[in-house]
């Protein structure tokens, strides 16, 4: 590692990136500031950056946990549950598929990989209408199964796990067989631990995607008590007026879990993407 020196160029770069970092964090700062002000103030004045201690309070947050905003906590719970189940299952299934494509030579292998790439390139929004019809006939409308199932085996993690598994030594396969391990034993006992960084990076991406997903849950979920957090929050925005007090504070708290996951796994994330990621 070369020693970093304070040269004019490095200072200029530092300045540039400080400005960019401020720009990146600024909207979240504005949100946090707004969450401390009463809803009426936002409607009257719009979002501004004045610190006005006269009117600032944690009332909005207190409201989120009160009886009248009970639905907020229900949405939060729904999102947590769906995200947890989706992340665990999708990582399990897509790691299997990616590993299978990378490690074995079998007829149809290339075709399956081409299909993975195809699914990656077609925006899912295009098949929303037939999927919606399908969900109606499968009686999965307004169920959490209906939200999770169609996108459980996701192409991006498959692609990623395949890239990662390509870099693993095939000798482990033979060694495992010699020791009497089954093909599945080799995968779960030897390969999964070796792919840990890939699991780390993909866990963040999948959890993030599920926690924030919007269009599909918007279509599938109907009942107020079944909504996920993004759908619930967006339902607070109506042409007839906004429930800013619960919306803004609710938005701040909605970012918290994903921010924690990121801070916790951050190192894993960049290194995981770097090792197995989209290299040439």
């Amino acid at each position: 590692m070369p020693i970093k020196r304070w040269t004019p160029q490095s200072l200029l770069l530092l300045l540039l990136f400080l400005v960019l970092a401020v720009l990146a964090v600024f909207p979240l700062y504005a949100l946090a500031l707004a969450s401390l002000k009463p809803s009426k103030e936002l409607l009257r004045m719009g979002l501004n950056l004045k610190w006005d201690f006269e009117i600032m309070s944690f009332k909005n947050y207190a409201f989120l946990f009160s009886e009248s905003a009970k639905k907020y906590l229900v949405w939060y719970g729904n999102s947590l549950g769906i995200t947890a189940v989706y992340t665990v299952l999708s990582l399990l299934l897509s790691s299997m598929v990616g590993y299978g494509i990378a490690m074995y030579r079998f007829p149809g292998r290339n075709l399956i990989f081409v299909f993975v790439l195809l699914v990656m390139m077609v925006p899912v929004e295009i098949i929303m209408l037939p999927l919606y019809k399908q969900m109606i006939s499968l009686r999965m409308i307004d169920t959490f199964r209906g939200v999770v199932l169609p996108f459980l085996v996701a192409p991006l993690p498959i692609f990623f796990f395949r890239q990662y598994a390509e870099g693993l030594p095939k000798d482990f396969l033979d060694a495992g067989r010699m020791d009497g391990c089954t093909e599945y034993g080799i995968f779960f006992r030897i390969m999964v631990p070796l792919m840990a960084p890939a699991f780390g990076a993909m866990a963040i991406l999948q959890a993030l995607g599920s926690w924030n997903s919007f269009v599909w849950p918007l279509i599938v979920l109907k009942t107020g008590s079944k909504l996920t957090l993004p759908i619930g929050l967006s339902s607070l925005v109506t042409p007839y007026g906004n429930n800013y007090d619960i919306l803004i504070a609710g938005s701040v708290i909605a970012i918290v879990p994903i921010l924690l996951v990121f801070i916790f796994f951050q190192r894993y994330f960049v290194s995981g993407l770097t090792v197995g990621g989209v290299k040439g």
Binding site: P2, K4, L14, L16, F17, A21, V25, P27, L28, A30, M45, G46, L47, N48, L49, L93, M96, V97, G100, Y104, F106, R109, I112, V119, M121, V122, P123, E125, I126, I127, M128, L129, P130, L131, Y132, K133, Q134, L149, V153, I158, T182, E183, Y184, L208, F214, V215, I219, P230, L233, V237, P239, S251, A254, I255, F262, Q266, T274, G277, V278, K279
Partner: protein, 294 residues
């Protein structure tokens, strides 16, 4: 049976089985169904073929608005969100960079916010009131207050700024991951040959970033044409004044889900499918993915 499943000839198929099932049920069949539906009038309980009528109905102002908005949005996100993150990643990866890890995280944080949250913030930041942040900013330069989301151009600007804010960080990570795989020796050798910074970037960095660039361009085209939620959040739902925020997916959603016109909605979807495929094939051809590499 167990023995059969455990044999090493069958095992690979067991591994890829989840994908095969999911692909058939939740991808191949829906794609087929949507193509069929696009030639049908789908009414509750009865469905009949009406030939190309749905496609003929596409020739209307609303569809043009959606197509124009989505294309414009995709174009501008490509113009901004490829070169900018690439250059920033090169800086962040450079030897002169101080606190690189910190900046990487700071720039990545916006990616973590959901569109719902980001849309809410940007709607307020670009609010129409005098005191709204961006109008205050305009006042600094002596400009008057405007209603950002009422005009087609300024509305598009807000959408593109929102996209830049949210996705610059993840694209930086993609480019960084590729940059870190370029061996230092290449730059050292170039330095010995007397190459300056620009030449190194032009002759070494840029060509070696090609695979990741193609990937980022592909997902940007995908994301651009699939954009919907951003506009949904900025304009209080799927109905903006004069459809300035209407996108292809917004139109599909409006026709297919809101008015339950599944046949016509499918025609919009199939058009969108053909469009994204065509743009991506041209793009891949142009940047040479089909050419043999190495």
């Amino acid at each position: 049976m167990t023995k059969f499943l455990y044999s090493s000839r069958i095992a690979p198929y067991v591994f890829v089985l989840p994908f095969i099932l999911s692909f058939l049920i939740f991808f191949a069949y829906p794609v087929y169904a949507t193509i069929v539906m696009s030639f049908q009038e789908v009414l509750p309980g009865q469905t009949h073929f009406i030939g190309l009528a749905n496609y003929k109905d596409l020739w209307n102002d609303r569809f043009y608005a959606a197509l124009w908005n989505s294309t414009r949005y995709t174009f501008w996100t490509l113009v901004v969100l490829i070169p900018l993150p690439m250059v920033l990643a090169v800086f962040l990866n450079g030897k002169r960079m101080i606190w690189s890890g910190f900046f990487r995280s700071a720039l990545f944080i916006p990616t973590l916010t959901s569109v719902v949250v980001a849309g809410t913030i940007f709607r307020l930041v670009f609010g129409q009131l005098d005191q709204a942040v961006m109008n205050q900013f305009r006042h600094l330069f002596g400009f008057h207050t405007i209603n950002w989301l009422a005009g087609s151009t300024t509305g598009m600007l807000v959408l593109v700024v929102l996209a830049t804010w949210r996705f610059a960080g993840i694209n930086i990570v993609y480019f960084l991951s590729a940059l870190q795989n370029i061996p230092d020796e290449l730059y050292e050798a170039a330095a010995i040959d007397g190459a300056n910074a620009w030449n190194k970037f032009r002759r070494i960095t840029l060509p070696l970033l090609k695979p990741v660039s193609i990937y980022v361009i592909t997902i940007s085209i995908y994301g651009g044409y699939a954009m919907f939620t951003e506009s949904y959040m900025l304009w209080n739902g799927n109905h903006s004044p004069n459809d300035i925020g209407l996108t292809m997916v917004g139109y599909l959603f409006r026709e297919g889900i809101e008015t339950n016109n599944l046949g016509f909605g499918s025609a919009v979807g199939v058009t969108l499918l053909a469009l994204t495929m065509a743009v991506n094939v041209v793009q891949l051809k142009f940047f040479g993915l089909f050419k043999k590499e190495e």
